[in-house]
């Protein structure tokens, strides 16, 4: 019966489950209470050189208007209509400070980004360069694909439709809503870049979604990979392992093996960019402690997290975790803004500080480690032997060893510090 289930479940990992932190499976909707009053639109997507502002202070901008462009041609667009105010620095969830332009949103601004429809793509890009150019103009994050446009040999494309942890349902919801468009866009990328194989990773637990995607992918080069979504299955290296059966060396990135792993949210952005629309919103899951209306939302890029939390009824939150319940970055600065990489916003009450006690050798850390590390060996390492033999570079930083440890030992930080020592 192996041929019926070609994708073996992840070895290790853990089924995360917390009903109190569930975003539910509702369709994407705008933030309740109307659009935010102010946007701090980041002019850079990370540490790269920021884009040059094309509008002056006091200028009126409309929704989707190009307001900045980088030297490489990447456009930045206003998500809502309003007036450009001061240029500032904003904090991103990933510990960076990037230049941003502040837009005071007009009182009558409407938060209605254009809807996507299947088969809307009249003039597909003729080649890879044209594709990348369209992405840049629209401000979509082509990421690893740009590297393959430069001539690297592509082998496989994996579109990740798995949610990383239980409160998050945005990727699944995106597949329900935009599944046909995702498959259409992935097929286009497959043909343009010359991938040998293209997979769409879908959670096996959603039988309806698996059937839907399988039906829609007939006649296309996209193959649906229904996977058991045991955390951290959504990690790119785990996807390569499970779908392609290929073991990456410790520290090796999928792109080094010719594999591109793209988030389904990015594919939706690509689809939007291919239709000539600007990427101005993120589709995110919002759930957590104190959230009155958990669900999936369409949030303008540049919205301060404080405004998002106020809109969903979690105004009293002091700490917010982004993207992943276990290992996502946590911030206490609520001026942090939604960026193009944001996939989830999880306000959590600060947990009690850990109270570690001696290890009881329960072995749970070994059981759950998806790369079969021995976190306890790192904890007990005293420098007598080389730490490299324990292979700290293999750590995914998924945080499961800390998550399951009944004695609350800081195992992951020891593994990571082992990585620093070996480096």
């Amino acid at each position: 019966m192996q041929w019926l289930r070609p994708f073996k479940p992840l070895r290790g990992g853990y089924f995360l489950h917390d009903e109190s932190l569930d975003a539910g499976h509702r369709d994407f909707r705008p933030l309740p209470g109307g659009p935010p009053r102010v946007l701090h639109v980041p002019l850079a997507n990370g540490p790269e050189t920021p884009a040059d502002l094309l509008v002056h202070e006091g200028a009126e901008v409309t929704a989707g208007q190009l307001i900045a462009r980088s030297a490489s041609g990447v456009g930045v667009h206003a998500a809502l209509s309003g007036v450009v105010r001061a240029q500032s620095q904003v904090a991103t969830p990933y510990g960076e400070h990037v230049p941003a332009t502040t837009i005071e949103v007009a009182a009558d601004a409407e938060d209605r980004p254009g809807e996507l429809f299947e088969g809307q793509l009249d003039v597909p890009p003729a080649n890879v360069e044209a594709f990348v150019q369209r992405m840049r103009v629209a401000g979509a994050n082509a990421g690893d694909l740009e590297g393959f446009a430069a001539g690297a040999a592509p082998k496989a494309l994996i579109v990740c439709g798995l949610d990383s942890s239980p409160p998050l349902t945005s990727r699944t919801q995106m597949l329900f809503r935009y599944g046909a468009i995702v498959i259409e866009t992935a097929s286009l990328i497959h043909r343009l870049f010359g991938f040998y194989r293209t997979y769409l990773a879908v959670e096996r637990g959603h039988a309806t979604l698996v059937r839907l995607c399988t039906r829609r992918s007939r006649g296309t080069p996209v193959r649906v990979a229904d996977l058991v979504n045991r955390y951290p299955q959504a990690d790119p290296r785990m996807l390569v392992r499970t779908i392609l059966g290929r073991a990456l060396r410790p520290g090796q990135h999928p792109r080094d093996a010719g594999v591109v792993v793209v988030d389904v949210g990015d594919i939706v952005d690509f689809a939007r960019a291919l239709r000539g629309e600007a990427v101005t919103h993120r589709l995110v899951s919002i759930a957590g402690h104190g959230v009155r209306e958990p669900g999936n939302y369409r949030v303008p890029i540049g919205t301060p997290v404080a405004d998002v939390l106020r809109a969903v009824g979690a105004g009293g939150t002091r700490q917010v975790v982004f993207d992943c319940l276990i290992s996502g970055p946590a911030v206490t600065n609520l001026a942090t803004v939604v960026t193009q990489r944001t996939t989830a916003i999880l306000p959590l009450w600060p947990a009690d500080p850990p109270n570690p006690s001696p290890c009881i050798r329960c072995g749970l850390c070994q059981d759950v480690c998806p790369v079969e590390l021995d976190p306890l060996a790192f904890y007990q390492w005293r420098g007598r032997r080389s730490v490299e033999r324990l292979h700290p570079q293999a750590c995914l930083a998924c945080g499961l060893c800390d998550y399951v440890c009944p004695t609350e030992l800081p195992l992951m930080s020891r593994v990571r510090s082992g990585d620093d020592v070996s480096a």
Partner: protein, 343 residues
């Protein structure tokens, strides 16, 4: 350009923890003893209650002394200390000296507390250490199986089949099974001589299933221990009617009597193997780290127990086997170390 806002304070993951906490695990194990204690009280009444009370008090006393010596602010280990005391009572016959049990429990709880708080681990299971202390303090009492028929356990009778003179052997065992051994189902309900809590196989199995369900016990240790014991009992030789070693006893019938199956069943439930595999195998500190190690540990425990019985060890074969396997844990951990993915 306005001033930069505060740098976000990025706290370390994980932002949530699974639990349960270590103390919860200790309490769950203690709760798992409840059915076995209840059965022991049913069969042995006031004597068992007295022994459990003394062992519990001595365990708490030893734990408190260890805590006092260590002087570090640590969480309570009362549940663990009680577990040590109760398990010691269970593996010893009710006729054992209460003083010996009290002394042994206090010393074991003290050592366990100090070692765990200071070094994070101990080498041998504290209950086995306590059992050895009882052997030293009151050497005659636990060995009543050698001569006092009233407290002779079924497994002691079975062991005689291995060490019997040539004219005995399996024929002797057949006679034992037909005329002297209690019926096998009596070892399931506890109506046989033996340890205070080690005789009722059914209660131990129920407790073990519950501990596996609440994830306090890995199934590998009891399953592999019982499996290996069954296999060893089925394969390892016994004395034949003419004194020769008779291999594969599971396939042998003496005068139409299934001798191998009798051996096998009494090996599993007639002694303390079930208790050792379920409760003492659940102790994480003195068992290997990963599942493969647990399987190896279980195989060693089960096969070792039968082997020692075959060699005629008069008492406590399973505890000696457990001691040996505890000693081999570092080796097992080394042998069963997993290969890091991608290397």
């Amino acid at each position: 350009m306005t001033s930069a806002p505060d740098i976000p304070l990025v706290t370390a993951p994980p932002h949530v923890r699974l639990g349960p906490h270590r103390r919860h695990l200790d309490r769950t194990l203690l709760a798992g003893l409840a059915p076995v204690i209840a059965v022991a009280l049913w069969w042995h009444g006031g004597r068992a209650a007295l022994l459990f009370g003394i062992a519990g008090a001595a365990g708490l006393l030893g734990d408190w002394a260890g805590h006092f010596l260590h002087r570090h602010r640590r969480q309570s280990r009362a549940a663990h200390a009680l577990t040590i005391g109760f398990l010691l009572v269970m593996i010893l016959p009710p006729a054992t000296s209460a003083t010996a049990i009290g002394v042994a429990t206090a010393v074991a709880a003290f050592c366990s507390r100090v070692l765990r708080d200071r070094f994070g681990s101990y080498f041998w299971h504290p209950v086995v250490v306590a059992w050895m202390i009882v052997l030293l303090v009151a050497p005659r009492v636990p060995r009543t199986g050698e001569g006092v028929a009233a407290v002779e356990r079924p497994i002691d009778l079975v062991v005689r089949a291995y060490v019997a003179p040539p004219e005995g052997g399996v024929r002797r065992l057949r006679n034992l099974a037909l005329y002297e051994l209690p019926p096998w189902d009596a070892t399931l309900i506890g109506d046989v001589p033996g340890g205070t809590g080690a005789t009722c196989g059914l209660a131990i199995l129920v407790a073990g299933l519950w501990l596996v369900y609440v994830r306090n016990l890995r199934w590998q240790v009891p399953v592999y221990a019982l499996g290996a014991a069954a296999l060893a009992a089925a394969v390892l030789p016994v004395r034949g009617p003419e004194g020769a070693w008779l291999w594969l006893p599971i396939a042998q019938r003496i005068d139409g009597f299934p001798i191998g199956m009798t051996l096998l069943l009494y090996h599993l439930t007639g002694g303390g193997l079930l208790l050792a595999a379920v409760f003492l195998g659940a102790d994480t500190i003195s068992t290997p780290l990963n599942a493969r190690g647990h399987a190896l540990f279980g195989v060693g425990l089960g096969a070792g127990t039968v082997l020692l019985r075959m060699l005629g060890l008069p008492f406590g074969a399973c505890w000696w086997a457990l001691l040996v396997m505890n000693t081999l844990v570092p080796v097992i951990d080394r042998v069963t170390r997993r290969r890091v993915w991608g290397t």
